[in-house]
């Protein structure tokens, strides 16, 4: 303890006397710290995004759609694929209660919505309450559709309000019409309080029971694989069928499924295929889009990116460590005489080793603290200024980074310190 204290005192004196040399060596370590903190933050944010992905979108996702492309079948024997109906969805759900979500969905394009004399073009989606179980990245005002709406085929609907509605001035309006025919709808929903009021869609009167407000871009969950969502009007699938928005004879629904436990995904997939086979006499009529694979690929890519950054951090520390080693070695040679003098008056090999190690560890410590400060500045205010979004830097990151910096310096000082301690006192004293 006493020896450590003495070594620290000598070390501080040395660091102060050789300012330039000290600055250079702890800068090297500081760079390592900055990169390390950044990579820590990347890893943590990847983990956070993974959690969010699980929470918001789920992992074991798949989508069942009708498959028209039956290339392997003989044209004479071609049978058009059977339709997926609301009943199919309900039956799948009751046969396989383990599935977390079975959300049937149908989309109608170019509908006309009339509100207080204004007419806009929109799309309308027939859904069930299951729709809200996943990717519900909205703030709900009023209520969402419920099973009673479905059973009674009620004429109720929920409107989606854009976080950033398109500008409503005339020039952009005409220009926008060419590629965004629903822009007028977004403007209408943004500028009117329509909750509780009635609208006419293709002549059918609906009551607006809920408004889904899109979250502002900064509040939207940072997902590994965000779903493209472009909904305008949601209404009970049964109501839309009843009022002729689609015809179950000709139109097929899509089924968005979350199988629940991702570890049983393969099994769930088999059960679903089996269900389709039994119900329709074959599963070749349907396309099952395995989204879990895609999501997992995206997760893998994120994890790989984290590993790359952490290796960069390691590399930066390595470079810093080599810098410390180089400088400590140079110091040992420059101070050989001093080593001899200290040995002559009674310093042991251990005392000499400790002196150089403590000195290097101090450089590492200063570099780590400096680097952590810089890393924080870069990760939060600078990144925000550059519009890159602040890194999620937690208090333990700089702390760990400082420890690693000091430890790196310690490890790389071992060899030079050993060189110093191995000098024979007589030889060390003879140098000039």
């Amino acid at each position: 303890m006493r020896a450590l204290f003495n070594a620290a005192r000598t070390g501080i004196a040395e660091v102060r006397v050789h300012k330039m040399r000290s600055v250079l060596s702890f800068m090297a370590i500081a760079v390592g710290s900055v990169v390390f903190i950044d990579s820590f933050a990347t890893i943590v944010s990847t983990y956070d995004r993974l959690q969010k992905q699980k929470e918001v979108s789920g992992i074991a996702r798949l989508k069942i759609t009708q498959d028209y492309d039956q290339t392997n079948s003989n044209p004479d024997e071609y049978t058009p694929p059977p339709n997926i109906t609301y009943e199919t969805a309900m039956s799948l759900k009751s046969k396989l209660p383990g599935l977390y979500m079975v959300s049937p969905e149908f989309q109608n394009w170019r509908n006309t919505l009339e509100f207080e004399g204004k007419r806009v073009v929109t799309t309308i989606n027939g859904v069930t309450p299951e729709w809200a179980k996943r990717d519900f990245v909205y703030k709900l005002k009023g209520r969402f559709l419920d099973w009673q709406d479905l059973e009674n085929k009620l004429r109720v609907c929920v409107l989606v309000r854009k976080a950033v509605p398109p500008p409503s001035n005339e020039l952009t309006k005409t220009r926008m019409k060419q590629w965004n025919y629903t822009a007028a709808f977004d403007v209408l929903v943004s500028h009117n309080d329509m909750l509780g009021k009635t609208v006419k869609i293709d002549g059918v009167t609906f009551t607006v029971v809920g408004i889904l407000e899109e979250l502002s871009p900064s509040k939207q969950p940072d997902l590994i694989m965000p779903q493209a969502r472009d909904y305008k009007v949601l209404a009970p699938a049964t109501t839309l069928a009843h009022y002729g928005f689609f015809d179950e004879e000709y139109d097929s629904l899509d089924l968005n499924v979350d199988a629940g436990d991702e570890n049983n995904f393969e099994e769930s997939l088999k059960l679903i295929e089996n269900f389709l086979k039994i119900r329709f006499g074959g599963d070749e009529f349907f396309m099952i889009d395995n989204q879990m694979e895609t999501i997992n690929e995206a997760i893998d890519a994120s994890v790989k990116q984290s590993l790359v950054t952490i290796s960069l951090g390691m590399l930066a520390f390595l470079a810093g460590g080599i810098g410390i080693m180089n400088i400590t070695l140079a110091t040992v040679f420059a101070r050989t005489k001093e080593i001899g003098i200290r040995r002559a008056v009674g310093a042991t090999r251990g005392d000499i080793m400790l002196q150089f190690i403590v000195e290097a560890a101090m450089l590492g410590l200063i570099g780590g603290v400096l680097g952590s400060g810089l890393g924080y500045l870069w990760g939060v205010p600078v990144k925000e200024l550059l519009g890159m979004g602040a890194s999620p830097i937690k208090p333990w990151m700089p702390a760990v980074s400082v420890l690693i910096a000091a430890f790196t310096a310690f490890v790389f000082a071992l060899y030079p310190a050993w060189v110093a301690a191995s000098l024979k006192p007589a030889d060390a004293l003879r140098t000039e």
Binding site: R2, N6, A13, V17, K337, E338, G340, I341, R342, R343, A344, V345, G346, A347, T348, R349, G350, D351, K424, P425, A426, D427, L429
Partner: protein
């Protein structure tokens, strides 16, 4: 503390390999003696003193320090011996020029673990004893050669050693300063410390109790 050497030899690795610096040196020094080692340049005086001071190891022969063979000592034990029982004075002073005189004197005490306050008190006492009162804060670069050598003597005395080893302590000093240093060493001898001094100066050597004359790595008598 007694010194007993028999048939000491030393051959340096590298350099003039195979040309021994010491070839069979035997002698004894009793506690409290003042011995001068003399001889022409290159005859092995410094080599002998380094071995006696545990700064270097002999290639052959036996060296008993207070009855113990130094070859049996660990590096730590040798360091402790240097720290507690031996004091060194060199021709080129060998002070740490960055540190003030007092801190130089403190160095051996620091390794002995003496508390700070006591250490500084003793350093000031020792510097006063060698006539450097008021110069405690000066660094060696701000002192004359004679003053530097007196700082070195104060440092050598820090842990109250029993043996003082001086390698041409007056080699870099004028005759007046040399005399002062010699007087100081004689005074320490009078206090009971064993003094072993290498010197070229016949006059100084004559003031020692005993002379060991060396030539080509051997003792002449």
């Amino acid at each position: 503390m007694s010194i007993s050497c028999s048939d000491l030899s030393k051959t340096y690795e590298g350099g003039h390999a195979g040309w021994p610096a010491l070839r069979g040196v035997s002698f004894e020094i009793k506690p409290g003696e003042f011995v001068a080692v003399t001889g022409p340049s290159g005859c092995g005086k410094s080599t002998l003193l380094n071995i006696l001071g545990l700064l270097d190891e002999p290639s052959g022969g036996r060296y008993l320090l207070n009855g113990r063979s130094i070859l049996e000592m660990s590096d730590g034990e040798r360091s402790d011996f240097r720290r507690d029982e031996l004091g060194f004075i060199f021709q080129s002073f060998n002070l740490l020029n960055r540190l003030p005189a007092a801190d130089n004197v403190c160095l051996p005490m620091m390794y002995a673990g003496i508390p700070r306050a006591e250490m500084h008190h003793r350093a000031h006492e020792l510097l006063a004893k060698v006539g450097l009162k008021g110069k405690e804060k000066k660094t060696p670069l701000e002192l004359s050669g004679g003053e530097r050598q007196r700082v070195a003597i104060a440092r050598a005395l820090a842990n109250a050693p029993k043996i003082l080893l001086a390698d041409e302590p007056t080699g870099n000093l004028d005759s007046a300063s040399s005399r002062e240093i010699m007087d100081a060493l004689l005074k320490l001898h009078a206090e009971g410390i064993t003094v072993i001094m290498v010197t070229h100066d016949r006059e100084l050597a004559a003031r020692a109790q005993r002379n060991l004359r060396m030539k080509d790595g051997r003792l002449e008598e």
